[in-house]
Symmetry: C2
Subunit: 417 residues, 2 copies
């Protein structure tokens, strides 16, 4: 397996270079929004490449692109691997694209080396994951697993008021004669992705084996006090919404640290009103993003922190209102598949770490449908969603090696989980 | 003196009602920006009223309006009292206007009751104090005391790019033949104003005797950390600019409370970047406004708090930059005049409080020119710069009584400080 590393490194690097040129911004970064011309060009490019490698290529009705290496067992289970082709605005070349390029590399290598598999292997280039054009995420994988009813697509609109349905049809999809997106033939879904975080790099690990993708709570918090003259209002007579919010933010951070890894809690957005240097702030709104892979921890931490906020507000004579506007369940990966990834990494002498994914991925939609696994390669500086996203060619090849080995077990050795 | 109270209450209330109709906004509030048509109408209205009361009326070159009750001593010292006629946008009817109306009421009462004074008494309606149209404050009193060189007025522009000079000329001022604004004949300046704060009301006092107008430091603070993914960056690996700023804000509040009244410190404005719920904030900018009447305290508190901020930044691995962009010296009022105001309040059985003004006033420009005193009447709910600004008629009359008594001592009894 190690003999393929150099070849995989150059194959993936080259493919990512070609893909990264599609939707490249003049100021750096790549933008391929769902159903845009750049997006369509990228899918067509991948279709041509996979056809050239001998894969059977097809689109489904929402524009997910599949490349199939058919198994000897007709109508047998399918082993699916891949990621998403869309990007954030001015994103990097690796997020999503790497999982597709690596999957193509792995299938191509397996096909050349071992011929036809028993179970069919498929690469998927999901049409959408990021939610950068329309206010929804996982449009590709969500259709594959039956999360979305695509008839609702006429309602969802982008910033230019184009509906998802109109955009889909303009790109040539959404036709009744096209194959349905829903899959019911999957025996496993394996996704390879860049980490988008600093852990592997800092711990000098080459492979991250994802045990779970975190669940998430997102709150909107509003703290209301009294706007007062900053010169004439003595400190004890103030109801300062920003001082109250600051105390809450510090408390949130302290509690998150105390509860320990892998819990993370973030206040990313804050707005004060009237937001004038010489007026004591009347209202502060801020967001709280809490993530953990265990729903019970999510529940109890969220409840605990909201109570702390209430105490602070009461003590300071402030009004508090909290709205939970996002609640995503944690997605545990398949234990047997994770164990196999661990063994493979060990066999290939690749330092690995079992870890939790703090970011969302297409893989989190599959545990209810089929055994699912996810693996990471390091992200330089933990940077993602930026033109500075980078993973070195040999690290890219590590991921391909581990992925190919697992796909071999599943599709050739018929060791289904 | 108490016999005049009812008359003063109705005189001042009526005058404030008429003034408040000039520049009244349909949605409530009064807007009279420097040199605007409403501003000019208000000055002309006051000129007519004062002429009708027998005062000698004149404008100076920048549009300050004076009404004079000439003393028997020709070319003798002048006792000046008044405030400013301009308002903030959608301001109240009392801020500034009350000090002028009360001065007219007091002079009119003294003239009717005691005839001509020995020293001349003058009411001033300063053209500008708020800084609401042009980015400068105290334009009226600043010209009277020689703070401003009005030739620079061509450079300062309002939001519509009109220069101060153009606006002044359009309103009929700025002509060489008009009297110079600078005064060199003043024996005292006395200003009566609403408190614009909650202290008198909460302490059930009728008169505030201002011992000093606070000095002020205003800082712009920038905290710089690292933008990171809110899901994939473990808590200990973060450099969260907002958590750092929050700790600074809490520290500032705690220290200000600990240093004690009358020190006040306020963070009124905050901006975070990128200000996105799922990204750890990279940069936070906030303002710090610190006020105290003793420059040494201002100095040492400011130095202390900036050091605390530096410690917090260092501890958290954040970059800190601080810019002091406003530094106003405290203005102590004249002790003898304050003592006299105290005695007068006692004689009139008006509960009073010696206090510090946390807001800036025209009076703060006069201590270098002549003995200066300032007194307050209560503001309902401490509210100011708002259509809800309110002081009851009998409280307005209290101020007139105390002011008239002091002016009597100064101009009739010739007891100069």
């Amino acid at each position: 397996m190690i003999s393929m590393k150099q070849e995989a490194a150059s194959f993936v690097t080259e493919l990512l270079g070609e893909l990264g040129a599609i939707g490249a911004e003049t100021g750096g970064g790549v933008t391929r929004l769902l159903y845009s011309p750049e997006w369509l060009e990228a899918q067509k490019f991948l279709a041509r490449r996979m056809k050239g490698l001998g894969f059977e290529v097809r689109y489904d009705r929402v524009g997910n692109l599949y490349g199939r290496l058919p198994g000897t067992m007709k109508n047998g289970p399918v082993i699916l691997t891949g990621s998403h082709i869309d990007t954030v605005r001015c994103g990097g070349r690796y997020d999503g694209a790497y999982g597709i390029a690596a999957a193509i590399a792995a299938l191509s290598y397996l096909n050349e080396t071992y011929g036809q598999p028993t179970y069919s292997l498929e690469v998927v280039s999901f049409c959408e994951e990021e939610g950068s054009r329309f206010p929804l995420t996982y449009w590709g994988s969500g259709n594959a697993v039956g999360l979305y009813d695509w008839d609702g697509a006429a309602e969802v609109r982008d910033a230019e008021k184009t509906s998802l349905k109109e955009a889909m049809e303009a790109a040539g999809f959404g036709k009744p004669e096209q194959p349905e997106a829903l899959r019911s033939d999957l025996a496993a879904y394996i996704e390879l992705h860049i980490e988008q975080g600093p852990i592997l790099e800092r711990m000098h690990k080459r492979i991250g084996i994802v045990e779970a993708i975190v669940g998430q709570r997102r709150y909107g918090i509003t703290v209301r006090g009294e706007a007062n003259h900053a010169g004439t209002t003595p400190m004890p007579m103030r109801k300062d919404a920003l001082a109250g919010a600051s105390e809450m933010i510090i408390q949130l951070e302290a509690e998150a640290i105390q509860w320990g890894e892998p819990l993370v809690a973030t206040v990313g957005r804050i707005e004060a009103a009237p937001n004038t240097p010489n007026v004591v702030p009347e209202t502060v709104q801020f967001t709280v993003d809490i993530r953990h892979h265990d729903e019970r921890v999510l529940d109890s931490f969220s409840g605990h922190i909201i109570n702390k906020f209430k105490e602070i507000a009461r003590w300071r004579g402030l009004e508090l209102s909290t709205v939970c506007w996002l609640e995503a369940k944690p997605a545990p990966m398949h234990k047997d598949l994770s164990d196999r990834l661990e063994k493979i990494s060990g066999d290939l002498s690749l330092p690995y770490r079992r870890m939790v994914s703090g970011a969302g991925h297409d893989a989190q939609l599959f545990p209810g449908v089929c055994p699912t696994a996810m693996l990471f390669v390091p992200s330089k500086g933990g940077i993602s969603h930026s033109p500075d996203e980078y993973t070195a060619p040999d690290e890219l090849a590590d991921g391909v090696s581990v992925l190919a080995a697992l796909l071999y077990e599943l599709a050739y050795e018929e060791k289904l989980p």
